[in-house]
């Protein structure tokens, strides 16, 4: 976990979270998280549902008051006007007015952020173009497709030209084509130098979009770094052998565990230093009387890292 202190000569980072704790009754949703987001960086918060990602995001936008810990946005307190000006938030829900058109929605949220006149008009036009909704600007939101609503939801978070965007699972419920469209929007934003926090429980999204990834589980960051770093820290140079056996009896699970592997959804996963170790595994399974159906070799991914660190799958 890297946490640096800004000095007088060093500008404040877009986001600095220090020892943040938030409890809801008996449940600790955020459990002592410390985190920095660097300028122009896209940081992924990867974790399963209920890991505490959304609570962390809502704390940053001032909608949740933490029990302890501090949050500063470009050096300003999270609920200050300066922080609100600097932050753009794309909530997980479609937080739009269904009976307003795309343009009217953007105008409304622009006004709520203090924009008016020509600056509002320009901001609306810029957001419509970014979301490629210019030709649908007069369409009522309730009549838009799911993907278009998602894009408008993102555009509404960008209306006041923030410098740090918080995107809370912006692709929930979106078809693959629209998802790709959204990725392109985010990549464009990132290329323009925007600092971004992107929460997801899809490792493919984190791998594609994020410079750095923080894996969150049970309210804690259990690992963070670049994709390659996370994999290397967890597995070194080791690869994974995935094997599927006929039947589903406990004998298979016992044999896999005895050979240092893990069973997940009927799939046996082994870590190997060298691909030639597959032969030994095959021979061992044959001696144990197990009927092998399928076997493959792969480089570990974020899913593997999460499984390695928690013993659970990312989408549990």
């Amino acid at each position: 976990m890297s946490s640096s202190v800004a000095t007088a000569s060093e500008p404040a980072p877009p986001l600095r979270i220090t020892a943040l704790v938030k409890r809801f009754g008996e449940v600790t949703a955020v459990d002592g998280i410390s985190l920095d987001v660097r300028r122009g960086e896209c940081l992924g918060l990867l974790g399963p549902n209920g890991a505490g990602k959304s609570t962390l995001i809502r704390s940053i936008v001032g909608r949740v008051i933490p029990d302890t810990g501090t949050i500063s946005v470009f050096g300003a307190a999270a609920d200050s006007t300066a922080a609100r000006n600097g932050l753009g938030w794309v909530p997980q829900e479609l937080a739009l007015y269904p009976r307003l058109t795309c343009r009217e929605n953007l105008e409304a949220f622009g006004r709520y952020h203090g924009l008016d006149g020509s600056s509002l008009g320009q901001a609306v036009q810029r957001c419509l173009e970014w979301a490629t909704l210019t030709d649908r600007s007069g369409e009522l939101v309730k009549n838009l497709s799911g993907g278009m609503k998602r894009r408008l939801n993102m555009a509404a978070g960008l209306i006041h030209q923030p410098r740090l965007m918080l995107m809370d699972e912006p692709t929930v419920g979106v078809d693959p084509q629209s998802r790709n469209h959204i990725f392109e929007m985010i990549e464009k934003l990132h290329a323009e130098g925007m600092s971004i926090i992107y929460t997801t429980h899809y490792m493919e999204e984190a791998e594609r979009l994020c410079d750095r990834i923080a894996i969150v589980d049970h309210g804690k960051i259990i690992a963070q770094g670049r994709h390659a770093e996370l994999v290397e820290n967890a597995f070194g140079t080791r690869s994974q052998v995935l094997a599927r056996f006929a039947g589903g009896d406990e004998r298979i699970a016992a044999w896999v565990t005895a050979r240092g592997g893990q069973m997940t959804d009927g799939l046996a996963i082994f870590s190997v230093d060298h691909p030639t170790e597959i032969a030994a595994l095959l021979e061992g399974s044959a001696k144990a009387g197990l009927e092998l159906i399928d076997v493959s070799l792969r480089r570990p991914n974020l899913e593997s890292v999460f499984l390695h660190l928690t013993g659970r799958e990312l989408r549990d």
């Binding site: 809801f24 809502r58 936008v61 001032g62 909608r63 949740v64 008051i65 006007t81 609100r84 932050l87 938030w89 909530p91 997980q92 829900e93 479609l94 937080a95 739009l96 007015y97 009976r99 307003l100 009217e104 409304a108 949220f109 006004r111 709520y112 952020h113 203090g114 009522l140 509404a156 978070g157 006041h160």
Partner: protein, 423 residues
Amino acid sequence: MIPAIVRTAMVSLRRDRAALALSFILPVTFFTIFAVIFGGRRDTTPKITVIIVDEDHSDASQRLVQGLKQESSLVVKSRPEPVKGVEQPEYTAETAETAVKAGTAPVAVVIPRGFGQNPIAFGSPDADRPTIQLLEDSSDAVAPQMITGLLQKVVMTSMPDLMAEAGSKDFEEFAGGLTPEQRDRMNKGLRQLRERAQSGETNNTNQGLVALHAKVVVGENKNNPMVSFYAAAIGVMFLLFTASGAAGALLDEAESGTLDRVLSSHVTMTGLLLGKLIYNSLLAFAQLVLMFLWGWAVFRLDFWSHIPGFIVMGICTAVAVAAFGMLLASVCSTRAQLGAVSTLVILVMSAIGGSMFPRFLMPEAMQKAGLLTINAWAIDGFTKVFWRDEPLSHLWPQVLVLLAIAIVLFAIARRVARRWEFA
């Protein structure tokens, strides 16, 4: 920020046809129904139907029947309606009783045989003398009482000669007789009375035992007195429904996440609630304007000469109902809950506050209980303006109470809305 919130809400309403209809068409429809039933464009109160059975067929009984027929407030039936064009026989005591039981008329008057021999009964009742029978439907408390009173009046106005004759007989019996001169004058007077009675003249000239001159002091120049009452009464009830429905947008926004997004901008919870209060107040005021304009256009309500009073009462009422809606919405956690709670509370408030039934006709305790409602104060204020023509300065109790209600309800709503502010 507040104008932006008002603007957003207005555009949303403009696009919601169902909400528009509920806000504007439904109240006007209900108002029209109530106005037609209770105050409409009719110039008279409903007439009472009475069945007359004349078993006597004497001069006195016929004069009594004729007198009743001339009463403008009665519809006198001596025989059932023709069936397929065939005239029906006159009512008898038995058929009249059956007709009252069947609800054809709330009351029947049976003039028995022998009535004409001694029609006037001064003093204590005589057991041997035939008496008029009244057959009543007990579900109508007013009609029998009215017929009883009218019978006494008609006897006095259509048979003054018989009354005087009976009076002179009693006088002779108790005072020891008249002198020949007095008797001559008495007979002359009786003759004149009889002639006037037979010509029908007395019905219009004799007003009864006590001379009366009725002067209308309230509503003398009103085209339609009950219309202004129902415009306010029905208006306030629907304003309350609309306000709670409109305030429910807050629940929708909380559920969709829009509220969170709005509150993460420069908009504060107080600003947001104030914006919604202003929007709801404007909506309520627009409803009142429509209601009273409709009253003016359709029911000849005197709207234009009461504009200042209407504006004062309209604004105070609109703000109070808007704050009421805000409170209900902030207390409830779902739309469904808001619907159930608001229906219950508003119907109770409207019932005891005079929106359904005028408060001045209620028992005293209910009238006092009504003062706990927005309806009562608003209706009282509008009544002062449109019915009693009171000056603006007389509206201060209603204005103060309604504004106080608005402030208190809004303050509570703001306090309760903290649950949305932060987690």
